[in-house]
């Protein structure tokens, strides 16, 4: 079933829609949630929360891409859950590693100085300039929070090659952020 049909079912408030969503995107959601949370039970709960959120959001929401939309919702919910958990303990998923890596993109001393700048717009522009493969790998790591190992597998590259590519891309991002006014 294609996404248009699933969206139509959601708009009709047919419960079949959620079954189809689960069938088509259940594994994607689980992967996104598991990568962040690092455990099966929390990941499954987050996936269920994602379906509920989707059910409540559509209609009126009309996502351009159902896949991206559901992945983003699931990612946000997993992140919220991770935050709640880390109030007590540090999470064991890929998130901690990914966040540590991203810390290296931060321009020195730039904290809060340009908080008003739209980071999302700048990131969008940065990603738009990257070669396709580089951008996809960057997003696999920092949107889907996939492990370097899984990315290397999926792209037929060595882990070291992926690590180096991510390192260079983060450096580029740092430079880009500085140029965009995120410097001291």
């Amino acid at each position: 079933m294609d996404d248009k049909e699933i969206l139509a079912l959601l708009n009709e408030r047919s419960e079949m829609a959620l079954a189809r969503v689960e069938e088509k995107y259940g594994k994607l959601c689980y992967r996104v949630a598991y990568n962040i949370l690092g455990n099966d039970a929390d990941a499954k709960e987050t996936v269920n929360d994602t379906y509920l959120r989707l059910w409540n959001a559509i209609p009126p929401a009309k996502p351009e891409s159902l896949k991206a939309y559901i992945a983003a919702v699931c990612r946000r919910l997993a992140l919220d859950r991770h935050e709640a958990q880390t109030a007590q303990k540090r999470g064991s998923g890929q998130l901690s590693l990914a966040l540590e890596e991203l810390e290296h993109c931060l321009p020195a001393g730039g904290e809060d100085a340009n908080a008003q700048i739209d980071l999302q717009t700048v990131l969008q522009r940065f990603l738009g300039k990257l070669p396709r493969t580089t951008r996809d790998i960057f997003l696999r790591r920092y949107f889907y929070t996939d492990s370097v190992r899984d990315i290397a597998r999926a792209y037929g590259k060595k882990e070291h090659a992926v690590t180096v590519l991510l390192l260079r891309t983060r450096q580029k991002l740092k430079d880009f952020l500085e140029k965009e006014g995120f410097d001291v």
């Binding site: 896949k67 991206a68 990131l123 396709r132 493969t133 996809d136 696999r140 999926a154 037929g156």
Partner: protein
């Protein structure tokens, strides 16, 4: 600002980017058919298929192309052009390894795709790419250093020279000619005669011309693998690898196990070691031809799994130097 701010902001970027990043399918010509993406798609599809066959999860079967599909004009404009039936894309830093003459023209060592290309590097003129809303008209030439290659070209557009590469369009060829099974291996660009080199990561040394012909003959005309046969092999291999009966044949010919999908996926992956078979052709194409899974006796070609008999596996292992 923290790393988390960046991470969170990435959650709100263009959904098309998010969607495409997770689509490493080899089968969609509009889906950024960079060489590595296609190989990645092939590898991912193959692994997904192997695992799916093993654990009987139909939803893990060959990754589908983008939902709703649709022409992505911007992606085409941004990433390349089509000429003489081949899709070309801007050269990637990783392609240096294949083209020493390209590497020699790189400017700096920063990893940027910038080259000192001049008129002197232009070979035979190949065609014109019409202007569009983003770019002026482009003229495409062969690279004089590789006068016979279609795989690497130079585009002169808007006062700049740029390298573009193509990896041939084996998959598109199969779609357009309607060829099925692995017979397509024999007819694409006159294989095996057009193959100038065939290598695997196992032996490292290129195979002899005779061995290349034998490999292609062996792989051609095969049928897609039967699930039951595959499941049987998976059970035997599991027993051999882990020494347990945790995975058994189910009554329906599938697999029966008592563990999470994640766990079985990981463990099945761990016991497979795909062998990639690479070829180079007389037109300069440098392609991944198949992934071969000696442990299972199957190979992946064009998003399909094909089975080999025991004797064929032994012959192929011998030709490829697999112990």
């Amino acid at each position: 600002m923290t790393g988390k701010d960046i991470y969170q902001a990435l959650g709100d970027i263009d959904p098309r980017m998010i969607e495409k990043a997770d689509n490493c399918s080899a089968d969609d010509p509009k889906n950024g058919l960079r060489r590595r993406m296609r190989y990645a798609g092939g590898a991912a599809a193959c692994l997904c298929l192997v695992i799916a066959l093993a654990i009987g999860l139909s939803s893990l079967l060959i990754p589908k192309t983008q939902d709703g599909g649709g022409s992505d004009q911007m992606a085409d404009i941004f990433y390349g052009f089509c000429l003489n039936g081949l899709q070309y894309y801007p050269i990637d830093v990783g392609d240096h390894a294949r083209y020493e003459e390209v590497k020699a023209l790189q400017v700096g060592a920063t990893g940027e795709n910038r080259y000192e290309i001049t008129e002197a590097h232009l070979g035979e003129w190949l065609g014109t790419i019409p202007a569009d809303e983003n770019f002026g008209q482009g003229e495409v030439y062969r690279f004089a250093a590789y006068p016979d290659y279609d795989a690497i070209v130079i585009m002169h557009r808007d006062g700049e020279y740029k390298f573009y590469i193509s990896d041939g369009d084996l998959y598109r060829y199969i779609r357009e000619t309607g060829k099925s099974d692995s017979d397509a291996l024999f007819s694409y660009h006159g294989m095996p005669d057009s193959i100038t080199e065939m290598t695997t990561e196992v032996g490292g040394t290129p195979l002899s011309k005779e061995s290349v012909a034998e490999v292609i003959t062996l792989l051609s005309g095969k049928q897609t693998v039967e699930y039951a046969v595959y499941a049987e092999r998976a059970v035997a291999l599991w027993k051999q690898t882990y020494g347990t009966d945790e995975v058994k044949l189910s009554g329906s010919g599938g697999l029966d196990y008592d563990m999470s999908d994640e766990e079985i996926r990981e463990r099945l992956w761990a016991m497979t070691t795909p062998v990639s078979l690479w070829i180079k052709t007389d037109r300069g194409f440098d392609m991944l031809l198949i992934h071969y899974y000696p442990q299972f006796g199957v190979f992946n070609f064009s998003n399909q799994l094909y089975g080999l008999s025991e004797s064929e596996m032994q012959t192929l292992d011998g030709l490829l130097g697999i112990e």
